[in-house]
Symmetry: C2
DNA sequence: AAGTTAAGAACAAACGTTTGCGCAATTTAA
DNA sequence: TTAAATTGCGCAAACGTTTGTTCTTAACTT
C-alpha cells in the first residue's frame, strides 16, 4: 500500500543490468569500476526519471554509518537549551547529519534508556547535555568507543570531550560586581546540585567572597533545581529570613523568573529593595520590568563547537584525545543592581 | 574496532540453536512456535548475560517500521515552537516513538529537502509545522500515503489533518477588547504573510473592526515575518506615521519583543503612549516592564494531540479521514492596554 | 505395527544496499 | 599467432532481522 518503492533492483531490471552496476554508477564510482559512458548515461537518466533515492536503512545497515547524531537534552522547552539546539541541528545538517532528539526530563533513568535506544538505532555519535548526577552509564558508552561530546554539563572525573561556558569565571565576575557594589549578604539560588554548571557557578560565588575577604553564609546558598518553581520558592523563603539578603545571584534564567515572581508578590522592587544578577541572557532579559543584569553565554558557538568536535571524532575514526572547551561569558550590565549603602532590607524599610 | 556487537547469530552460535529460534524467543513468540521451556530459558539468560539489544536498522529494514517520527519545525529556538516540541517529543516517547528533528529555518526549499531526507530514512510518519507558503511538496507526500499531521500552520485547500489554535477567534477577541477600550487606530504587525496562523489572525483583526463598524486602514496592517526584527522595524515606522496608532496588535511573541524595543527606544511607554496586545503567552510575559496582555495558546495540548492523531494513523494503518482540530485560545489581561479617550498620540503629547 | 499427529527447531528468503572478486570479450603487445 | 593486458560488467556475500515453510523425531492412535 505504502507507495511502490523504486530500488536499485527496479532500475537494474528495467535496464537489464545488474544491481551492482547501478549502485556503482549512482555512487559516482563508475570510473573506478570502468562503467561505460553509455551505461552511466542510461542509469542516471532512469534514476532521475524514477526519482530514485536510496533507502537509508539498508545503506546504514551495510555501511555501519547512519549520518545520524543522537542528541539528549534535559529540557528542550528551556530557552537556554532550545537556542543551543538550534545551532546543534543547523551545524549538523550543514555537515550532512540528522538529529535524533530526545528529552531526558532531567531524569537520569530516562537518560540511561535513551542512551541505549540511540545505540540500538546506530547513531554515529552522541551529543549529550547530561542530567549530570550519575556518570556510570556514560562511562559505559565511552568504553564502547562511541564518539560522544558532552555539552553544557560535564564530569571532571570522566575523560570525555566537552563544551561548556566558563561558568566559574562568569559567576566570579557577577558576584564580584555585586560585592563591589557594596553588597555583603548575597544569596545564591542554585540549580541542580552536583552538576558541573551549578558547582562551577557556586564555586565562583564562593571565591568572589574569598577574594574580598567576605565570609559566606551557608544559609544564603539555597535551592536544588534549574527550574522556575525553585527560584520562586527559595526567594519566598529568603525574603522571610531574619536577616534577608540585599542581593540575589540566580544561577539560571528560569530561576530568576521564579525569583522575580516571588519578589513582586512580596511587593518589593528590583533593584530598590533587592539587587539581582542572573545567569543566562535571554532576548526578553532587557525588557523585564527591571532590565536584568545577566551573565550571557555564547549559545550559538557552544552548539557549533560541539558538533564540530563530534563529527571530527566520527570522521577521523579515532578517539580524540578528550579535551574540554570552556567558552568565555560576558556580563551584561543593566538595571537590576543597585549600589548598596545599607546593611540590608530592614535598614531600607 | 567499534565494539564487538552481540547479534542473534552470536547468541545462536553460542547455544547451538538457530537464529530463528533465538529471534522467536526474544520476541515472545515461543508459544506460537512451540519452543520448549528449556530452550527459552537458555536463550533468555544468554541474551541477558550478553545484554543483547536488537539492531533497529536491520529490524526496520525487515519490518518496514522504524518507530521514528520525522518532525520539521521552522525555528526550534522560538519558545513557542520549543514548548510545543517538548510535548511532541514526550508524547511520542511515551508511545514508543523517537523524534528525528529538523529545523527548516522558515525556508521552503530546506523544508522540501528535509521531507525527502525523512522519507529516505523511512520515518513512520511526519509532524510538520510547515513554512506554509508552498504546498506542492506536501501534496506529494500526502499522495504517497505517508501518515502526516500538520501542526500550527495548515492549508485550507489541502486535505490533511492538522492541529492549531483557533487563531481567528483569538485575534477577534483581542482586537475586540482593544476596540472596546476605545481604540480606533489599531496597527496589526503581522507575521509571514499567507501562512494560516497569520491570515487567520489578520482576518480576526479585520472582522473585529467590521463588528464594530470601524473601517480598517490598510496602512496599519504591516510586516512580513514572525521574527523580532520585523516587530522592531515595523513599529519604528508606525510610530513615525502622520497619524500613528494608539494600539498595537502583535501577531507573535517575537514581534512583540521587537515592538517593545522600538517603543522604548522612542522614549514611549506602554500603555500610556500606546497600548499593546500580543499573540503567544510566555513565562516572561507577566514580568515585562509592562506586563503584557496576551492571547495564550495551549502549547502543551497541541503537541500531544498532533502525536496522538499521527500515531493513530500509523498504527491503524488507514488514512484517517483528515480533520482539522482548532484549540481555543485564552485572552490574558494584564497591564498593556489602556482605555483610550483621545484621538491619538498627538492628542496626548 | 502402521499411520497419524504433535513437538521442537531449522532452512531459506526477504528487506535494499555495498563491494571484493571473478569472468568473458576485446584490444594490445611481443 | 599467442600471450598479456584492458575493458565492461556481474556473482555472491554481507549487514542483522523476521517469518512462512519444512524437516526430524517422538508420541499417540486404532
Amino acid at each position: 500500500m505504502r507507495s511502490s518503492n523504486v530500488t536499485l533492483k527496479s532500475i537494474a531490471d528495467r535496464l537489464n543490468v545488474s544491481v551492482t552496476t547501478v549502485s556503482r554508477v549512482l555512487n559516482g564510482k563508475s570510473d573506478r569500476y570502468r562503467i561505460s559512458k553509455e551505461t552511466q548515461e542510461l542509469i542516471n537518466t532512469a534514476a532521475k526519471e524514477l526519482s530514485y533515492s536510496p533507502n537509508q536503512l539498508a545503506r546504514g545497515l551495510r555501511l555501519k554509518r547512519t549520518n545520524t547524531i543522537g542528541y539528549i537534552i534535559p529540557d528542550i522547552s528551556n530557552p537556554f537549551f532550545s537556542s543551543i539546539a538550534k545551532n546543534v541541528e543547523k551545524s549538523a545538517r550543514k555537515l550532512g547529519y540528522s538529529i535524533l532528539l530526545c528529552d531526558s526530563e532531567e531524569d537520569t533513568k530516562i537518560e540511561e534508556n535513551l542512551l541505549q535506544l540511540m545505540i540500538d538505532r546506530k547513531v554515529d555519535g552522541l551529543i549529550i547535555s547530561p542530567v549530570g548526577l550519575e556518570v556510570n552509564h556514560l562511562r559505559r558508552i565511552a568504553q564502547k568507543n562511541i564518539p560522544i561530546v558532552l555539552l553544557d554539563r560535564y564530569f571532571p572525573e570522566l575523560n570525555l570531550p566537552f563544551v561548556t561556558s566558563d561558568n566559574y569565571k562568569g559567576a566570579l565576575e557577577a558576584v564580584n560586581m555585586l560585592i563591589e557594589h557594596g553588597h555583603k549578604r548575597i544569596a545564591c539560588i542554585q540549580g541542580l546540585v552536583n552538576t558541573s554548571p551549578n558547582n562551577d557557578r557556586v564555586r565562583g560565588y564562593i571565591d568572589a567572597h574569598k577574594t574580598h575577604e567576605l565570609s559566606v553564609d551557608k544559609k544564603l546558598i539555597v535551592g536544588d533545581s534549574f527550574g522556575e518553581e525553585n527560584g520562586y520558592i527559595e526567594t519566598k523563603l529568603l525574603l522571610k529570613q531574619d536577616d534577608p539578603p540585599t542581593a540575589l545571584f540566580a544561577v539560571s534564567n528560569l530561576i530568576s523568573l521564579g525569583a522575580i515572581r516571588a519578589i513582586s508578590e512580596e511587593g518589593l522592587k528590583i533593584p530598590d529593595d533587592i539587587s539581582m544578577v542572573s545567569f543566562d541572557d535571554q532576548p526578553y532579559s532587557r525588557f523585564l520590568s527591571t532590565p536584568m543584569t545577566t551573565v550571557s553565554q555564547q549559545n550559538s558557538q557552544i552548539g557549533q563547537i560541539a558538533i564540530k568536535l563530534l563529527i571530527d571524532q566520527i570522521e577521523s575514526n579515532r578517539q580524540l584525545e578528550p579535551k574540554g572547551i570552556f567558552l568565555p561569558t560576558r556580563l551584561i550590565s543593566r538595571d537590576s543592581v543597585k549600589r548598596n549603602i545599607n546593611l540590608g532590607i530592614k535598614a531600607i524599610g
